[in-house]
Structure formats: structure tokens, C-alpha cells
Amino acid sequence: MGQFIPLGDKLVLESQDLQRLFDVLKERGYRILGPTVRDRAIVYDELGSVADLPAGWTDDQNGGSYRIRRRSDEALFAYASSPHSWKKFLLEPQTTVWQAERSGSGFQVDQGRAQLHKSALIGVRSCDLHAIEIQDRVFITADQVDPSYKSRRENLFIVAVNCGQAGGTCFCSSMKTGPKASSAFDLALTEVIETNRHYFLVEIGSALGEQAFSEVPSREARADEKDAADNVVAECARRMGRVMDTAEIKELLYRNYNNPRWDDVASRCLTCGNCTMVCPTCFCTTVEDFTDLSGKHAERRRRMDVCFTMDFSYIHGGSIRSTARARYRQWITHKLATWIDQFGVSGCVGCGRCITWCPVGIDITEETRAIRESELSHPAVIPPRRNA
């Protein structure tokens, strides 16, 4: 995607002209990826046209609960997070890293040709934009780069969407990652639905966005239209489903590794790993080596992995994190605390997916609150350090 230039231009796009944007992007070689209804959920997949968008659908999310529901209007983006996140397109869930063929006493390794993927992401919410930037910090560093991730990332066109409706488990306001998209996008849309109008306020975010949008019918936004869009977002910010107190959260978790609350969570956590799968920033992968029956051909594949398995921390002799307590604690302290030391930002963007998709409804905001409160009410719970 192009460089972020907050050009500030605010334009209005009528809903019936959205298809033209799709067409322009397709003409420029992008495949369109965005939300669509499937299997009674709003998922992210390749879109053929605007007709594939979840027009008139919304979602009801809560701890361990997700349902989509019909609205009375034809809003295209009136739902919160999806069980999918955009990482499925940037960090492939499964990929072949290289292949090898036996030759003589050894073998030949073939990396294959790098493929170019130009993708336009439609409907990227602010939380997910932050998540993409967070994964950039993981995979594009001064020392190491994932070439496939980088290539996909560089050939991305992002059409962000400012949320008009906070989900039942959302807390981007607490994490300062939304609801308004402020970081790098090419275009940002705010959907406004009035009695007899359905339009988008469009913000140009980059030269690339400007170029593409110049071919789409639009006009400069009027003051009242800008206000309407602002209200939509402000309303959303006020109605977050959850709240997370992030004050000194890293230090809080660092000193509470032995808090009894972990035993409590462990008694509920199934270590199913759903949270890691739906989390837009979870990036752990594993590497597997395969061979075929003939033994002549081998492959190395990388696939997404889950830190809740016994395998994950296994070294000879056993798993380092052999209890559910240790594994849940690892996930939440990584997400909210050690991530900060590793990458300079929190790993959590407040999208609420982990809360929604946990089969037992474990709530990351509630667990953190419990730990914080345990310090206030029972300082003795944390025993004073004694030298052995």
C-alpha cells in the first residue's frame, strides 16, 4: 500500500457507487478481500462484487456467544469483528516454505518462485489496522524479514472502515486503537445511513488511495455530512462493550505471576486455543517437515500454531508449560505485557474476539481487572519476597 499521507480530503461516495471502487481496484490487478456472510457468520473472503458484502446484517457478540442478525436497513458494515482477521491473508495459515529432492548422497532445495499477491482489503476496522501494524513489527524488522509477508504487505490496498457500532465485546477505546481509523490506510470510509440516504464519508489516506479514488464518482463533503460521520464514530466510542484499564498493565502482570487468579482461570480454560486463532495479532507458527512415501521428495511447511498445546513448549523431558494455568498465563501475559517489551506496543487491540470466541467466555478484561483488584483488597495475597 502507499505511504500514509493524511491528505485530509473528505469526500462523499454514494452507496450505489461503491461498486465502481471495486471495479477500479480489480482493473488495477487487486483481488478484493472483504466481509461476507457464510456459515451464519460474517467472515473474510474473496469478494466478487459489492453484492457479496453483508448488507443489512449485524452481529450480537458477548462472552462465548456470536450470532448474526438481520437489520432493518441495508448497512454494509454495521457489525463488529469477524471470527476471521486479516492475518489470514498476510500471514498464511499454511504455506510451503521450500521443497527438496534427493540427489546422490544429498538433496537439492528449491524455494520456488515468489508469487505476487495484490490484495485490496475492504472494511478494515481501526483495531485490525493496528493489528496489521503490530504484525509488521514482528515480521519486518531490522534483523529479519519474512519475505512473503513483506511482499503481501507492500502490495496491499486498504479500505478502512470507521465503526459506527461497537460490538458487545469491543474495547478499542481502552486500548486506544479506535474506533476511528487513524493509522495507515489508503481510504477510510464512514458509513452514514439516513432516512433517504446511504453514503460514505471517504477520507483519503495516501497517494495510492487518491489515485484509485479519482476514478470513482464522488464530491467534496459538506460540513453537515462531515458532522454526521463524526457523530457516528463518537456514538460508537461511547458504547464500547468492555473496558480495559491499561495503567501500568505490564508491571501489574509482571508482579502477579503467582496470583491465585490463575488457578481460577485454569479451572475454566479448556486450552482449546480459539483465542489465539481469532486474535488478529497472534503470530506463532510452527515448522513441519514432510516426506512422501518414496522418500525422494521432502517439503518444509509452516503453519499457524497455538501456544495452548502441550507440544508448543516441549523440549526433551517434557513441556515447560505443562499446566493449563501456565499456558493461559503465558497467552495473556504475552498479549498484554511481555509483548510491550518485545515490540514496543501492546499485543492487544481491543477487538474482543477472544472474549466472543472463547467457548467458556473467559474475558481478558475481566481477568485483568480481577488481578488488579486483588492487589487492592488483599495485599497479602502477594507474599513478600523472602531470600531463600
Binding site: 521450500w98 544429498g106 538433496f107 515448522v287 517437515d289 516426506t291 515447560i320 508449560r321 505485557a337
Partner: protein, 276 residues
């Protein structure tokens, strides 16, 4: 900036030396002998056996001789047994070197205490080679090495050479022995109280099972070493080797790139937390 860190490179086994009944040292060279991969002592490579899998193995050779890249391997699992089965002339895949290294430069001007437990001596050997190659730059140099039984002692011929040196103190112990053994018996920590070094001006490098390292650090602290002068080498499950896959995390650290060598004061608090 390396973008090929997942790509494995072909290396040929030039020599296999059986050290004990389950441990062997491989000498590797790139296929046409042209490639040299400079490494620092303490680093590791990911070794791959065609169709079987990949494991992280510390480099155990002399960094002054990058063409005879050596790895000391204990054959305990599928991949390591398959590596042993390769034999001379066999080819395997190599990628690396990865990880942080022993503070051989920072230790100049100080006494050096190297404490190795079991196969932990393998990643320490390059550090010892380096210190010995620039012997004048260091004060007293002490090697303390503990193994399970006399049959598990590695690098026996070299040990004899090292013991013969007047500028190197070598003390070896085993956890148990049969009657013929005339050396020390007892855990390696028992060698620390008697080792000759100046705790106010010493750098210690420790490698072995985590429990052994913890007890060793405690003994070194008893002798008066500060925590920022003690270095340990940690181990965790590694898949990628360069900080992308997330498996080797230990608190905020990725053992593959923030380690495996860690200065003790930086990880002390995390080691105390257990099962992280």
C-alpha cells in the same frame, strides 16, 4: 538483513567422531568447501535431515577454523539419531548461525570461570578455544566440568591436553562412578568452592541443565560473583531460530535471538518464576 533464514543450505559430513555411547561430534563443510559461516562462541545452527526434521545444535568448534564447523550431538530423538546414521559423506541441511554469544571480549582483563554440565560443554568449547588462543588477555582461567558418569565425559583427549597446561585449571567430576574411577565424584557445584579465581574480577560462563545452572549460579554468588558477571545458556523449543515462530519464548525473551546466552541479572527474575 537476511531474508533467507528459513532456507537450509547443504553441508556435507566430513568427519564423525563418537565421543561416548550416545554423543558424537560432526565436522561439516559446505558442499564445495567455499562457504564459510563465521560464528561466535555460544551460537547454534539448525541442522536438517532430509525428510526427518530439524534440530538446534550448538556449534562446538574453534571459531578460528570456520571451515571445520563442528557440532556435538547427543542422539536422543528421531532427528539426532538420523544425523548419526548419516555418516561420513552424508549431507544435511544447515541454517544459521543464530543466537547470542559468550562474552569472550568483555571478559578480557578478568579471570574466567567456565562451568559445564553434561553436553553443556559443547557450546562452551568454542569460548574456551577463543580464550586460550588469546590467553594473555585473560587472568586465571578455570574449567569445571561435570558429567553423569566417567563414560559420559566428552572430549577426553582434549581434556588431557588441557589438564596438562599450566595456565589452565581443569577440575572434572561425575555424579557417580565405579570403583576404578579415581577422580572426583559429586555434583559440579562442589568444585566451585575450591576453584582458584578472584571473585571481584571474574566472568563466569555456565551451561548445562537448567537445574544445574541454578545451583551453579548460587555457588558462584556465594563466592562473591555479581549477577552481571555470570552468563548462562538457556534452552527452549525452537522451530524457526530467528524470532518469528514464537515457540522459544521465555518471559519477554526469545531464546533463539535474545539468547541462548543470557547475562544472569537480566533473566534472574524470570528464572525464579518457574514454568514460564
Amino acid at each position: 538483513m537476511r531474508t533467507d533464514a528459513m532456507l537450509t543450505h547443504l553441508y556435507r559430513v566430513e568427519r564423525v567422531q563418537d565421543e561416548t555411547y550416545d554423543t558424537f561430534t560432526l565436522e561439516l563443510a559446505s558442499r564445495d568447501h567455499s562457504e564459510e559461516r563465521p560464528f561466535a562462541p555460544g551460537q547454534f545452527n539448525m541442522l536438517y535431515v532430509f525428510g526427518v526434521g530439524e534440530v538446534p545444535i550448538s556449534i562446538s568448534s574453534d571459531l578460528a577454523k570456520p571451515r571445520t564447523l563442528a557440532h556435538t550431538v547427543r542422539a536422543v530423538g528421531n532427528v539426532t539419531k538420523a544425523i548419526r546414521a548419516l555418516g561420513r559423506g552424508g549431507e544435511l541441511g544447515l541454517r544459521g548461525p543464530f543466537g547470542t554469544s559468550w562474552p569472550v571480549e568483555e571478559a578480557k582483563g578478568s579471570d574466567v570461570v567456565i562451568v559445564a554440565g553434561g553436553i553443556g560443554i559443547a557450546p562452551l568449547r568454542p569460548a574456551l578455544y577463543h580464550v586460550l588462543s588469546e590467553r594473555k588477555e585473560y587472568g586465571k582461567v578455570v574449567l569445571l566440568y561435570g558429567a553423569r558418569t566417567p563414560a559420559d565425559l566428552l572430549y577426553q583427549r582434549e581434556m588431557e591436553q588441557w589438564r596438562g597446561r599450566s595456565d589452565l585449571q581443569v577440575d572434572i567430576t561425575v555424579d557417580r562412578a565405579l570403583r576404578w574411577w579415581r577422580g572426583n565424584v559429586g555434583v559440579v557445584t562442589t568444585l566451585i568452592p575450591k576453584a582458584v579465581f578472584d571473585p571481584t574480577s571474574t566472568v563466569a560462563m555456565v551451561c548445562g541443565p537448567e537445574v544445574m545452572m541454578r545451583f551453579t549460579v548460587a555457588e558462584l554468588q556465594k563466592r562473591g560473583l555479581e549477577d552481571d558477571k555470570i552468563y548462562i545458556s538457556m534452552e527452549r523449543n525452537m522451530k524457526c531460530g530467528f524470532g518469528f515462530c514464537g515457540h522459544c519464548q521465555f518471559g519477554p525473551f526469545f531464546v533463539c535471538k535474545d539468547g541462548p546466552v543470557f547475562r544472569y541479572d537480566r533473566v534472574r527474575e524470570w528464572l525464579g518464576k518457574g514454568d514460564i
